[in-house]
């Protein structure tokens, strides 16, 4: 299967780019792991559930309808249920990238798409930091709660606490409240001053934010700024959460602990970009984000990136970036330089939203000393069941100083999620930088599929290798 442009990720960024490029004559294949287009923000109720009025849960329903209808009317080929595990650089003798995906219920059937250009629009994933009791059933991520609301239309629980930091908590709290859940508290670690300072900014720059604030008030959600969850309680299921106030230095204030009964605790500490595919392609990163230029091009020729893979900034920013990427690609594939004036409006919102999220980022950070609440027996890496004490021992007694060595000494980050979940937590406990791990496989891939990848004939000779390769026992 071959195409001009392969777009990976059918969220706002990927959709906007696909439509912009295809409207300009580019043959686009849009590839996404999901059953339907929409990504995180426009996550769709599964058709089978027969949701009567999904729009009640969607704040930007009209934008979504435009994208959805645009996709249906376009010539974009949309491949659903395709989990991309690797994008392969063009080999010397053949032009084009090869997108390797897995499909089917068990994600084991291979599928490949060849494309002259690739747009990485893979979005981000949630960052969650551990605390005692966070592995109890009933503790979910903020995004998990949102996805339950939007996708499955399940009411997450009867009494919820929403906690952590960042702008994601607002829609989650209001969404839960709107679905009839009693939200006992919205616990935000940013101090009341920071919070109060950034709410008006939110309201001014993001019209929807004013709506969130109003809805929080209307639903009488108590907002506890400058607070943090220190422990979740329960035997086999969550029964309560203890929250406490933070001092200006980011430490828990003694004597401020308060126990709030709840059966759902939605926690989130912001988002991190998905950069696996970009890194395997050799794209440069800026910190944790894929580096892009004004046209959303990465530093690898033929590879563009847009949306949250290039930095966390919400759906509207993803749309603007996707649109710009789509137009740039259309021009570049024709061999012409695009005229940036053509996307001036999108460029203005991109600048405005990036500035805004940079400001939000500086306010919404986890408490500086969050690791002090993490007891030695708190599980940090759930896949491998590594506890905080083991991480501390690796650093204090065995000479680890970075994430990779901690991982090798403790197995934290070696399991199914490959450290996507525990990476920030382990880095915090180890006191080192959360360097992005290299994960050349964005998804686990069956060895049989890997052995034949890129070989339509099924042979496994190294005919395409640039360098003679030998194998050996050590």
């Amino acid at each position: 299967m071959s195409t001009d442009l392969a777009v990976i990720g059918a969220g706002p960024a990927g959709l906007a780019a696909s439509l912009a490029a295809s409207a300009r004559g580019v043959r686009v294949t849009l590839i996404d792991a999901g059953e339907q287009a929409g990504g995180q923000f426009y996550r769709q109720p599964a058709a089978g559930l027969g949701a009567r009025r999904p729009q009640e849960l969607h704040h930007q329903w009209r934008t979504w309808e435009r994208l959805r209808d645009g996709l249906a009317a376009s010539s974009v080929r949309h491949l659903t249920d395709h989990h991309v595990w690797c994008v392969e650089q063009p080999q010397a003798r053949q032009a084009g990238f090869t997108v390797h995906a897995l499909r089917g219920p068990l994600q084991e059937e291979p599928a490949t798409v060849r494309a002259d250009a690739v747009l990485l629009a893979t979005g981000g994933y949630e960052k969650v930091l551990p605390f005692p009791g966070w592995t109890l059933p009933g503790v979910v991520t903020a995004g998990g709660a949102q996805a339950m609301l939007k996708g499955g239309l399940v009411v997450a629980g009867r009494t919820a606490v929403v906690a952590g930091t960042g702008p994601l908590l607002l829609p989650v709290a209001t969404g839960l409240a709107a679905a009839g859940v009693e939200v006992a508290a919205l616990v935000e670690s940013a101090g009341p001053r920071g919070f109060v300072r950034h709410l008006p900014a939110l309201a001014a720059k993001l019209p929807e934010a004013a709506g969130y604030a109003a809805r929080l008030l209307r639903n009488r959600v108590p907002v506890m700024a400058g607070h943090t969850v220190v422990e979740a309680h329960g035997d086999d299921h969550l029964e309560a959460a203890t929250v406490a106030a933070l001092d200006p230095g980011g430490r828990v204030r003694p004597g401020t602990h308060r126990r709030i009964p709840c059966d759902t605790l939605a926690v989130g500490h912001g988002m991190l970009p998905h950069t696996d595919l970009a890194e395997a392609l050799g794209c440069r990163l800026d910190g944790v984000n894929v580096h892009v230029d004004d046209e959303q091009r990465t530093d690898v020729p033929g590879v563009w990136a847009a949306g949250e893979s290039t930095g966390i900034g919400g759906a509207a920013l993803a749309l603007a970036e996707g649109h710009i990427a789509g137009r740039s690609i259309a021009a570049r594939l024709r061999g012409t330089a695009p005229d940036p004036r053509a996307w001036a409006a999108a460029d203005r919102s991109r600048t405005r939203l990036r500035d805004f999220f940079a400001a939000v980022d500086s306010v919404c950070a986890p408490p500086t000393h969050w690791t002090e609440q993490v007891t030695d027996d708190t599980v940090v890496c759930r896949c491998e069941e590594v506890r905080a004490g083991a991480v501390r021992e690796a650093v204090d007694e065995l000479g680890a100083g970075d994430l990779r060595t901690v991982k090798l000494l403790t197995r934290a980050g070696m399991g199914w999620c490959q450290g996507r979940v525990c990476g920030p937590a382990v880095a915090g406990l180890a006191g080192c930088d959360p360097t992005p791990a290299r994960r050349p496989f964005a998804r686990p891939v069956p060895l049989g599929v890997l052995a034949r990848a890129g070989h339509p004939t099924g042979t496994d000779h190294l005919t395409e290798a640039d360098h003679p390769t030998e194998e050996g026992p050590s």
Binding site: C86, E88, Q91, E108, E279, A280, G282, A394, E397, L398, G399, A400, G401, D402, R404, T405, L408, L409, R411, M414, G415, W416, Q418, R438, R439, P440, F441, P444, V445, P446, L447, G448, L450, A451, R452, A453, G454, H455, D460, L462, E464, A465, D466, H467, P468, T469, E470, E471, G472, P473, S474
Partner: protein, 368 residues
């Protein structure tokens, strides 16, 4: 790993030892390779002697830290898929046995007693009970801790300090000087750079290798298993035995498949063709792996020297400077023997193996 082993044996010999590294423990190639302690892949010669000594020392160490470093004396199985390959393997085994290797021929119909999930139709194989394994990062960290040596991580050596008459008197780091009458260069792939700081040349070069790691599985691969089909040339060519990848289970569950060999400098970029070849080789040996998922892959840079032997021992060009680097694809396995030999030299004893083949200045003469 080499530095940790040198520290252990030197401290045991009563020396006061400081270990300096610019990164964390095992942040170099040790944290990016595998932990096979193999005698099976070595032809008779100095490397095999060092391997036999090292494996004995590993077994001794395992009595104290075996569990912590995931030591397993599991044995290796080398299989041949053709009669031709089997004949060559048989010749190699005879030579290895004469050099002290324990090796037992396994006829085709008994191979599956050793490895029930091996592919059908193999010509036969050899069982090497001395082959073992450790988890390299754990080994380096625990051996360092057991040595009691002072550990200074995050400090780059920027200069080798010398006296007026040229002898070593310590090293300079970004965090100050460390004085010592003897300096051991255990900088692995970067050993040439450290040697240059002392004004001598040592040709250590990187040889890239990728390893594949699968999802955790119940034990289905019992030994270290690899195919030796290129042994045909053993008699005529002294180059290392060429084989398909080693497949092995680990204490923690994942199967490791490694490793490729390429000379591409320090290029870290992911190479699908290389990893694909590893996967294909592994599936050929163990068809059940077809369905098993690869979770990740990583690359490391083996420190290799032109004649594929490490540099071990005092450098006659700089009094007080010793080298313990350049072990290529066997630096974990050979670390214990290397550490023991270095400690013997430092303690003024006669080393128990002849160090001549490992002389650090051997390439200088060639060039001259």
């Amino acid at each position: 790993m080499a530095g940790a082993a040198c520290a252990l044996y030197a401290a045991r010999a009563g020396l006061d030892v400081t270990v300096v590294d610019r990164g964390p423990v095992a942040g170099g190639t040790t944290g990016a390779g595998e932990g096979n302690l193999l005698v099976s892949d070595k032809e008779p010669g100095p490397e095999l002697e060092l391997a036999l000594l090292s494996n004995r020392l590993w077994a001794d160490l395992a009595e104290d830290v075996g569990e912590a470093i995931e030591y397993e004396a599991k044995g290796g199985v080398v299989v041949a898929s053709s009669e031709h390959g089997l004949a060559a393997l048989t010749d190699l085994v005879a030579a290895q046995r004469a050099a002290g290797v324990v090796a037992e021929q396994v006829p085709a119909d008994r191979l599956h007693d050793l490895e029930p999930h091996l592919a059908p139709g193999l010509a036969g194989g050899v069982h090497y009970p001395q082959d073992s394994q450790v988890m390299p990062t754990l080994a380096a960290a625990h051996i360092l801790r057991a040595s009691g040596a002072r550990l200074l991580t995050g400090r780059t050596v920027t200069e080798v300090l010398r006296t007026a008459d040229g002898a070593v008197r310590g090293v300079r780091t970004g965090h100050g000087d460390i004085h010592a009458p003897a300096v051991v260069n255990a900088a692995g792939t970067w050993g040439g750079e450290v040697a240059a700081l002392a004004g001598v040349s040592l040709p250590v070069l990187p040889r890239r290798g990728f390893v594949l790691v699968t999802e955790p599985l119940p034990r289905r691969v019992r030994h270290k298993v690899y195919a030796a089909d290129y042994v045909a040339d053993v008699a005529s060519d002294s180059a290392a035995l060429q084989t398909s990848p080693v497949v092995e289970g680990t204490a923690a569950g994942p199967v490791l498949i490694g490793a490729s060999r390429e000379r591409v400098g320090f290029d870290r970029s992911f190479s699908l063709p290389v990893v694909r070849a590893l996967a294909a080789g592994a599936v050929r040996l163990f068809p059940f792996l077809e369905e098993v998922r690869a979770m990740r892959t990583y690359a490391g840079f083996r420190p290799y020297m032109p004649d594929h032997l490490p540099a071990i021992g005092p450098d006659p060009r700089v009094p007080g400077l010793l080298h313990a680097c350049g072990h290529e694809g066997a630096g974990i396995g050979l670390a214990t023997g290397t550490g023991r030999l270095i400690a013997q030299v430092l303690g003024g004893k006669a080393p128990e193996l002849d160090l001549a083949p490992f002389r650090p200045d051997r390439f200088e003469e060639e060039a001259a």
